[in-house]
């Protein structure tokens, strides 16, 4: 998938990977790749500034902690982040339902 197509959704995707857990940056990148079946292949270097931007916005918080015997900066959702994720999910479902209704094919209803 093209990085440009992803950019608008990157924030929501990052929030989703952090839903209910605390991860360091590289684990977030791996989670994005695994969940998308390898289709989300964006430059990994863009993920960290995006995470920090979300932190500035108060949607995630981060701290250095020990993961697998090494010091890593790990990220988690804040309460505002969880609310933002819920809103993104609702908006996404409405969007895909609307597009699917038109683009998904299938017979058109008979004209009245």
């Amino acid at each position: 998938m093209k990085p440009d197509a992803l950019r608008g959704h990157l924030d929501a995707l990052l929030l989703a990977t952090l839903d209910g857990r605390q991860l360091h940056g590289y684990a977030i990148i791996e989670a994005l790749q695994v969940r998308s079946g390898g289709a989300l292949d964006l430059p990994t270097g863009t993920v960290y500034p995006a995470l920090r931007r979300l932190e500035t916005a108060g949607l995630v918080s981060s701290e250095w902690s020990t993961v697998g015997g090494r010091q890593r900066r790990t990220y988690r959702l804040t309460k505002a982040g969880s609310r933002a994720l819920a809103a993104e999910r609702t908006a996404w479902r409405e969007f895909t339902a609307a597009i699917e209704g038109v683009l998904g094919g299938g017979p058109w209803p008979a004209q009245a």
Partner: protein
């Protein structure tokens, strides 16, 4: 390869040292993680490093993202400093002046109406600046949540910081110029502690001006 990439990134970035070190340490960890994952998958160490660097992204693009973070962090810190320091300096200067001089003496020359307007503005400028900076800090966070980019936010914050430092500085310079033009004896008769406090106030304002200028330098880098 990884060393070279991180060093090159380091050279391109300008901004607050602790955040920069933190960002670079995190980038380095990520590159090391990626290289070891690729090596585990069967690549030889040199190719694994090369691939990890290539996956991280082209240096100019990545550096731009990181630079905007550094610029925003510096601007936000400058705004927080201005929020505290500008009113504090104003209050301390006024208290010091009242302690040594009491009420302003009447003087020999009656003060024109416009002079009182300048004096009133100068009394209020610190509080107006503090209020606007607070609005900018809160507004910045709201804009960040609405997905406004870091580069735009950094430029906005830099502009607000420059204005927030320029306003009290101009206010103070105008009251001094106005006093000199109306009745220069008032300036010459200031008690030494008040003159000293004025010099100290200018030293602090110059320091703030340096911080504000860096906001523009970092957000244009």
């Amino acid at each position: 390869m990884i060393d070279e990439y991180v060093t090159a990134l380091d050279r391109r970035l300008r901004g607050p040292g602790p955040l920069k070190r933190d960002l670079l340490a995190e980038a380095r960890d990520s590159l090391d993680d990626a290289a070891s994952a690729l090596a585990d998958a069967g690549l030889d160490p040199a190719s694994a490093q090369r691939r990890a660097v290539a996956d991280f992204g082209p240096l100019p693009v990545i550096a731009r993202d990181y630079q905007s973070l550094l610029a925003l962090a510096h601007s936000a810190r400058t705004l927080r400093t201005v929020l505290v320091v500008v009113p504090l300096v104003h209050v301390l200067w006024e208290l010091n002046r009242r302690f040594w001089m009491g009420a302003w003496p009447d003087g020999d020359v009656p003060l024109p109406g416009w002079y009182l307007v300048v004096a009133r503005l100068n009394d209020w400028v610190a509080w107006v600046v503090a209020g606007l900076v607070l609005v900018a800090l809160v507004g910045g966070r709201v804009l960040a949540r609405r997905g406004v980019g870091t580069t735009t936010l950094a430029r906005l914050a830099g502009g607000v910081a420059v204005a927030a430092v320029a306003a009290p500085l101009l206010g103070s310079l105008s009251i001094i110029t106005a006093t000199a033009s109306v009745d220069v004896s008032r300036l010459l008769e200031l008690s030494p502690p008040v003159t000293l406090a004025t010099v100290a106030m200018y030293a602090v304002m110059v320091r703030l001006a340096v911080l504000a200028r860096r906001c523009l330098v970092f957000s244009a880098a």
